[in-house]
Symmetry: C2
Subunit: 429 residues, 2 copies
């Protein structure tokens, strides 16, 4: 069996002072031009050319080189040589080539400008992931997720692990996936909100990235049924302070992506990305700007319009009418019949990336607001009761990880930004 102790990454070969190298990776392509053969090998760090001239390398190696199927995995030992013709200025003259895993005929086109359509590429996602373009998307997603967590962890927020199986709909939502939990009926959580509120009411500052599920029947480029949410919840805050937290973390995320994913952004041809400013408008100011009607949500077109006015920035619309915010959003001045609320939305790069606000922490006010929304407080008993034993004012929001990845990468379909998407029809791979 092959030992990989002496393997070096391709990127290390280019900066190496050694004359020999052992490398391993995938065969990107092979060319035979009479007495000279080329093989381009790629690994996680880059690509390098292997060059063989007939008579100058072992004859068996020369013979086999252009017969190795694309994407096969090889282990190559050889000499590093400077070469003006080779990409990057270096090439390897092979002394041995071992095929670790021979690839069969590829079922999809994995060239960078793949002609295979998305659904078929998703069927073979493990192969689609051989493309630099696909890898670039998930490198950026990995940067986003880790920047998000590092930001809040450094600010002494506690990471939480909410339950994913719940006994009932905490938010009163209806679009839930049922789970058979032994003899009991249960559901997949559509939001960790109740749990993060509970935790913020004792440890004050919490964050998490967690999967949530929504059994929406749409199948569009905007919908998937299993998503990851980036959430925070913070005690002793209102909508204003929590919006600032969102502005700060999105700035940090974009900064990190710009700094650490230069190559990935280039591959994806993302050119206009900049560290955004936060723009703060009241709901009323914003709806007037786009010619909307007070008391109604923004249409996707109005959202794009607002974003176009403040290009590349985060547009916060705050103090929304209580009538179009969920029952748990705090009304202004803690008054049950207030017209305006402590709820906000955040738009970025053309779409809504987050909504949130201050929550109601007072059981009696919560009951009043539930009734005003024609909901039955009895169905929310557990939620209401969790605020009876010392719950401070608190606020929070969530950002969809796939949605933010999609916007930052400039992708048309959210499924491109989801490693293994689950939609109306897709459960595999």
């Amino acid at each position: 069996m092959q030992d990989f102790e002496h393997r070096t990454l391709v990127s290390e070969v280019f900066s190496s002072k050694s004359k020999k190298a052992e490398i391993a990776g995938w065969v990107k392509n092979v060319r035979a031009l009479g007495k000279i053969k080329f093989l381009v090998m790629k690994d996680m760090s880059g690509e390098i050319q292997i060059t063989a001239v007939e008579g100058k390398v072992d004859n068996k190696i020369f013979e086999m080189m252009d017969k190795i199927p694309r994407e096969s995995v090889v282990y190559i030992k050889g000499e590093i040589k400077d070469s003006k013709q080779a990409p990057g200025g270096k090439e390897i003259i092979p002394e041995s080539i071992i095929i670790l895993s021979k690839a069969e005929d590829l079922p999809i086109d994995i060239s960078e400008q793949s002609k295979t359509e998305l659904p078929k590429r998703l069927d073979f996602r493990f192969l689609d992931l051989h493309r630099r373009r696909t890898q670039a998307i998930f490198r950026i997603q990995s940067e986003i997720a880790n920047a998000f967590r590092e930001h809040f962890f450094r600010k002494k927020y506690m990471e939480m692990q909410p339950p994913c199986i719940i006994s009932a709909a905490s938010e009163g939502g209806t679009e839930l996936f049922p789970v058979k939990y032994f003899e009991k009926k249960a559901f997949l959580a559509q939001s960790p909100q109740l749990y993060k509120q509970m935790l913020a009411c004792s440890v004050e500052r919490v964050f998490m990235i967690t999967p949530v599920w929504r059994a929406e029947k749409h199948n569009t480029p905007r919908h998937i049924n299993e998503i990851r949410q980036m959430d925070i919840e913070v005690a002793f805050t209102n909508q204003m302070s929590i919006m600032k937290e969102l502005e700060e973390v999105v700035k940090y995320i974009v900064k990190r992506v710009l700094e650490n994913c230069k190559e990935e952004l280039e591959i994806l041809e993302v050119k206009a990305l900049k560290v955004p400013k936060g723009v703060y408008l009241s709901y009323e100011e914003a709806i007037k700007k786009v010619g909307g009607k007070i008391g109604e949500d923004f249409t996707p077109e109005q959202e794009r319009k607002l974003c176009a006015i403040y290009k590349g920035d985060i547009v916060f619309t705050h103090s929304w009418p209580t009538s179009i915010k969920p029952f748990y959003i705090m009304p202004k001045d803690e008054k049950a019949n207030a017209k305006l609320s402590e709820g906000f939305d955040a738009l970025y790069l053309g779409v809504e990336i987050s909504s949130g606000g201050q929550r109601i922490h007072l059981p009696e006010l919560l009951i009043q607001r539930l009734k005003a929304k024609r909901l039955n407080p009895k169905n929310f008993k557990e939620y209401i009761d969790s605020f009876r034993f010392g719950a401070p004012p608190h606020s929070g929001w969530s950002i969809g990880l796939e949605r933010l990845t999609q916007q930052i990468c400039g992708l048309d379909n959210i499924k491109e930004a989801t490693m293994f998407p689950r939609d109306r029809d897709r459960l595999t791979p």
Copy 2:
């Protein structure tokens, strides 16, 4: 409504040079000693004493102070005074006390040495989380999770987001929770293994923390049905190199906990924790040491015995017999009938914290091993086929986040280390 702009944390009061402070938090306890009253207020950063002498503070404040129910949330403005009697050497003389949220009678004992039993405390987890002891466990868990991710992110591993809903049992396991996915039958994933293998076969190095579900019917201090796994999978590795990765990250995690969670370890009375060494034994060497029988797994008692020999260290047992490792573990030298395998286990602080090893990346060998295990290769077609288009040798492992938290914190029951546990009978809160 209260604005929190001028609020300072209790810890800041102790280092403050200002004479006034505005603080907010929970009433830990109140005492009235005739003409003097004390209130201890706690927030996420610490505790401070509020002292009122009759006639020297506003009479209304003096009157109300000892009538505020425990755990109520208060906003206090006052003067900072040095005091030899007060814990920490400072106290606050109150100028105003606003009750933001009045607590009702507490249903459980939330003193640090709570007399309420675990099941009842779990019923009121949001209140149990008011205890410093409970908070300490999850501060340590948050440190573990973030140290794990930071370690691998820095090493250029890509974070992945595996699907949680799957169409069939990838590992051939039987203990799965069924989900109704629109018209289809689906399951909750019991492991992200297939997906991390797929991804490692293109991007080489991947990590994640993800929830998994096991429908095991036991209800013991060792079992929960929803856990979080810390996983890695790496191309061009074997069992030896992947064990080294585990040793390195556990060392880093423990180092971080020792450095950043001093107070929490004190609260939990964890005294013997040290940065572990890695001890490497072959399965045969190890089973001889504890008087076990070759070809059998270690009993929990034998595991404890091995850990006692190498106290505080990580005990790796490698090269297990193929007969007691899963079908996907690589047999020695890629030979289908090899007696030994590239599979390992890792013991730490008395229990198994991880198992893993090199996987089979060759479709034909995989089929042979499935047959040897009396499993039908047809049921694993998708898994086998994912290795047909250029799969390098690769290895991986996983560590249970709750299990590691439990061991590091020295807890008897894994449910103490799970924020909102799901077990045979528990689906709430």
